[in-house]
């Protein structure tokens, strides 16, 4: 089973396409829900609820999005691991993803839950949005570099 075609996604184009769709929809769910929290930290969107409440309401959706996006990401990665891992843009994406995930579950969630100054809330929201956009950009640029 050492040939590339032994990988289910390499043998079935429709399965590869479905996996990519699941990856994109899941990343949209995760990043989109984080962006709703970021908007709240920027004093936009759901101002009726505190940032902490918006975070709690979206946390489970974000987590499910992450789990599906990362699982499907690994599935796509497994179709040609040597090429993916050697690629500098893919390495950059993986580093940015780890930084963004780390930021999300430490500083971002702490600031959203606590009552911090406006400057802190705004800065954290901007950093969060920038990090997630950089993950998306490096994911797309991988295919072009």
């Amino acid at each position: 089973m050492s040939e590339a075609s032994a990988n289910f996604l390499n043998a079935h184009e429709w399965a590869y396409g479905m996996t990519e769709v699941a990856h994109i929809v899941a990343l949209a769910v995760a990043i989109g829900l984080i962006a709703v929290v970021d908007l709240r930290l920027l004093n936009q969107g759901i101002v009726h609820a505190t940032p902490g409440r918006v975070l709690r309401a979206t946390a489970i959706g974000t987590l499910i999005g992450f789990i599906v996006a990362i699982t499907t990401g690994f599935m796509i990665f497994s179709t040609d691991p040597a090429r993916y891992f050697a690629h500098p843009t893919m390495r950059l994406k993986l580093v940015l993803l780890l930084v963004a995930l780390g930021f999300n579950y430490t500083i971002h969630s702490r600031v959203a839950r606590g009552s911090r100054s406006r400057v802190v809330c705004r800065s954290v929201a901007v950093v969060s949005l920038a990090l997630w956009m950089s993950v998306v950009f490096s994911g797309i640029f991988y295919a072009f570099t």
Binding site: V25, A28, L33, G45
Partner: protein, 161 residues
């Protein structure tokens, strides 16, 4: 005049040729398109989950819709703007691609959805929103947007005969 010839004429325009042949402009537009899908998708998802009464039930639904509206409009304009540039720069392939055609039809259906539920759900003008209408609008919206994203990705999988 066929769809393919219209597409060819369109993509030969200087601006669209420049987008297609550029090393960086094309991926930047594509990345922006996908980034907007993520940002815009979160707003759509949360609105629909709220319409289904699954979360944030103490936030009035019309207030959430109202507060999200300018951000959805901004996301939509950037997303469609980038998408149009991408499609126009490869119009000869895209116009005859069945997945692209289905995607455009689905976007049309989203327009019909928005018009139908406009007074009933999205701009109720003080009137109460019926739970049935709210649920129908939410389920249809989620299904249509996931279908649009799916067709968008599958455009790349079509081999012209």
């Amino acid at each position: 005049m066929t769809l393919a010839s219209v597409g060819r004429t369109l993509q030969e325009l200087r601006g669209f040729t420049a987008v297609r042949e550029s090393a960086y402009v094309y991926p930047v537009i594509l990345s922006t398109h996908v980034a907007c899908i993520a940002l815009f998708g979160g707003l759509i998802l949360l609105t629909n989950v709220r319409l289904l009464e699954w979360c944030l039930t103490d936030v009035p639904v019309d207030e959430m819709i109202e507060r999200f509206r300018p951000w959805k409009q901004l996301g939509f304009v950037v997303m469609v703007g980038c998408g149009s540039l991408l499609a126009a720069s490869k119009a000869a392939e895209y116009f005859v691609n069945p997945f692209f055609q289905i995607k455009m039809a689905l976007l049309g259906a989203i327009g019909v959805h928005g018009t139908y539920f406009r007074r009933r759900v999205y701009r109720p003008a003080g009137a109460a929103i019926s739970a049935g209408n709210a649920r129908a609008a939410a389920v249809l919206s989620l299904a249509l947007w996931v279908a649009v994203a799916t067709m968008g990705r599958w455009i790349a999988y079509y081999d012209a005969p």
